[in-house]
């Protein structure tokens, strides 16, 4: 089973949406919130996602489609 550490960034229109819950229901992945901050107009979460590699890819692709920004917890890795 693979594990991936990601950071989700929620724009204002998705703050009230149960994105993490839905991810766990729609895909065969286990989601584990490890940190974050939510305000009225934006928010972010550190999330550990466990499951089959391809299923994690599908779950992340779905989250991006819904409008959530998904990055590695490290942020931008490609440096100048």
């Amino acid at each position: 089973m693979a594990k991936r550490r990601i950071r989700l960034f929620f724009p204002a229109n998705l703050i009230t949406e149960p994105v993490v819950y839905t991810m766990g229901k729609r895909f065969e992945v286990v989601t584990n919130i490890r940190g974050g901050e939510i305000s009225a107009d934006s928010g972010w979460l550190y999330l550990e996602v466990s499951g089959d590699d391809a299923e994690i890819d599908r779950a992340i692709a779905w989250a991006i489609e819904t409008g959530v920004r998904v990055d590695p917890v490290e942020g931008d890795i490609i440096a100048g």
Partner: protein, 420 residues
């Protein structure tokens, strides 16, 4: 001996042994090196440092290395230039340029990479890696060659040929990835997880970032062991900015300078300014942006240390500003034409923001200011080329020369030499 206590989580304070780790297992916060400052204070002196090598390794006790051999391409001890001409242009009487364009691979990246490569070899890695669009890639490849380690460098598939040459010459395995920036970024994180290489700015990031402290150490030493009043730092991920601040704090903590962290000035390109935007909006939440700027070496839209930069700005009563592409080019030209230093676009960002801050009256004309220029202009000549005047082209005739020169600049006058 190393004076380290281990790695510590910047968020929850959890301690770890020195290892190739970068994220806290508990809260996913970033890890950084923790030192025993009391022990360093008892063991370090200005005189000992001044007798040391003309590289960043003269400050070895403030880095996390033990007795392992260094991976050293003679980085650091770059000039701190008193910039009276630039100062006059901006109304600043005590201005200095930290000219870091003259490192072995022509950017400040050699500083963090020499520390990361040394640690990589010490941890027993045989492969060193990074994902980069330029400066970091060249530095990692050069250090890989020096250490005779295998080296893998990931680049975007649309990187310019000249930049590829600057990396490929050192002999790394170069992997060009198709796809948009975010896809490439996520893939690199997964590769780093899977292959167990020393990825300098991922699993070795706590050590890598330490190297940038030397930009504070050197400036303090070059000023006669004191901190400047204000510094201006070009900023991408934020590691350089936060580590320069940390460097000045550490020097005070170990008794080498009086306690006085400078006012930290953060400079970004307007086309990629998520930290400046958060500062101006008075929020501690960084909103990632899609970069669009000629300052490619600063084009990090989701800066890992953005939050910590905002903290440093608050703690030091600091400043933040951004400049447009046109202002970046103007900054590059101003620096070159006043001080003879050809910095890359990031240097144009530093000087452009310095100019804006001076014009806005945010700087005291008599305070000591250091502006950091972190990469060589020869890396990005295309950024400034079209803004420069064409050369005067003439036939091999004195008449043509006289006419053309008078047209370009009438202030030149021939000296009349009398016959006899």
């Amino acid at each position: 001996m190393a004076f380290t206590k281990g790695l510590v989580c910047r968020e929850c304070g959890e301690l770890y042994d020195l290892a190739p780790l970068h994220v806290c297992e508990l809260c996913f916060g970033p890890l950084e090196v923790a030192y025993d400052y009391a022990a360093i204070r008892a063991d370090i002196s200005r005189e000992e440092i001044e007798r040391g090598p003309q590289t960043i390794w003269r400050y070895r006790k403030l880095f996390p290395v033990d007795g392992q051999p260094l991976v050293d391409i003679q980085t650091g001890c770059t000039p701190l230039l008193r910039a009276d001409n630039l100062g006059r242009a901006l109304g600043l009487r005590n201005l200095y340029v930290k000219n870091d364009t003259v490192n072995p691979t022509f950017s400040f990246k050699d500083r963090p990479v020499t520390v990361a490569a040394t640690m990589a070899r010490g941890f027993g890695f045989d492969t060193i890696a990074c994902a980069s669009t330029g400066n970091l890639a060249a530095s990692v490849a050069a250090h890989g060659a020096r250490a005779q380690m295998r080296c893998v460098v990931f680049i975007p598939s649309d990187l310019e040929t000249s930049k590829i040459t600057n990396i490929a010459v050192y002999g790394p395995t170069l992997v060009a990835i198709r796809g948009n920036y975010d896809d490439v970024n996520r893939l690199c994180a997964e590769i780093a997880d899977r292959y167990g290489w020393a990825f300098v700015n991922i699993n070795l990031r706590p050590y890598y970032a330490e190297g940038s402290k030397s930009l504070a150490f050197e400036v303090a030493e070059q000023l006669g062991w004191r901190a400047p009043d204000t510094v201006i730092v070009p900023t991408a991920s934020g590691a350089l900015f936060t580590k320069i601040a940390r460097g000045f704090e550490e020097l005070a903590e170990v008794g080498l300078i009086s306690p006085a962290t400078p006012r930290m000035g953060l400079a970004q390109a307007a086309g990629c300014a998520p930290i400046v935007s958060a500062h101006e909006a008075n929020t501690m939440t960084i909103r990632p942006v899609k970069p669009s700027t000629i300052a490619k070496s600063l084009a990090i839209g989701n800066p890992a240390d953005g939050y910590y930069c905002l903290k440093v700005i608050k703690e030091t009563n600091g400043l933040a500003g951004s400049v447009t592409d046109e202002e970046i080019v103007a900054g590059m030209r101003l620096l070159a034409q006043t001080e003879g230093v050809f910095g890359e676009t990031a240097g144009g960002v530093s000087v452009g923001v310095l100019k804006k801050m001076a014009e806005a009256g945010l700087l005291d004309p008599d305070e000591t200011i250091v502006v950091y220029v972190t990469g060589n202009g020869l890396k990005t000549p295309e950024a400034v080329a079209s803004a420069l005047p064409e050369p005067i082209t003439i036939g091999a005739s004195m008449t043509e020369f006289d006419t053309a020169l008078a047209k370009r600049d009438p202030s030149f006058e021939p000296v009349m030499v009398e016959a006899g």
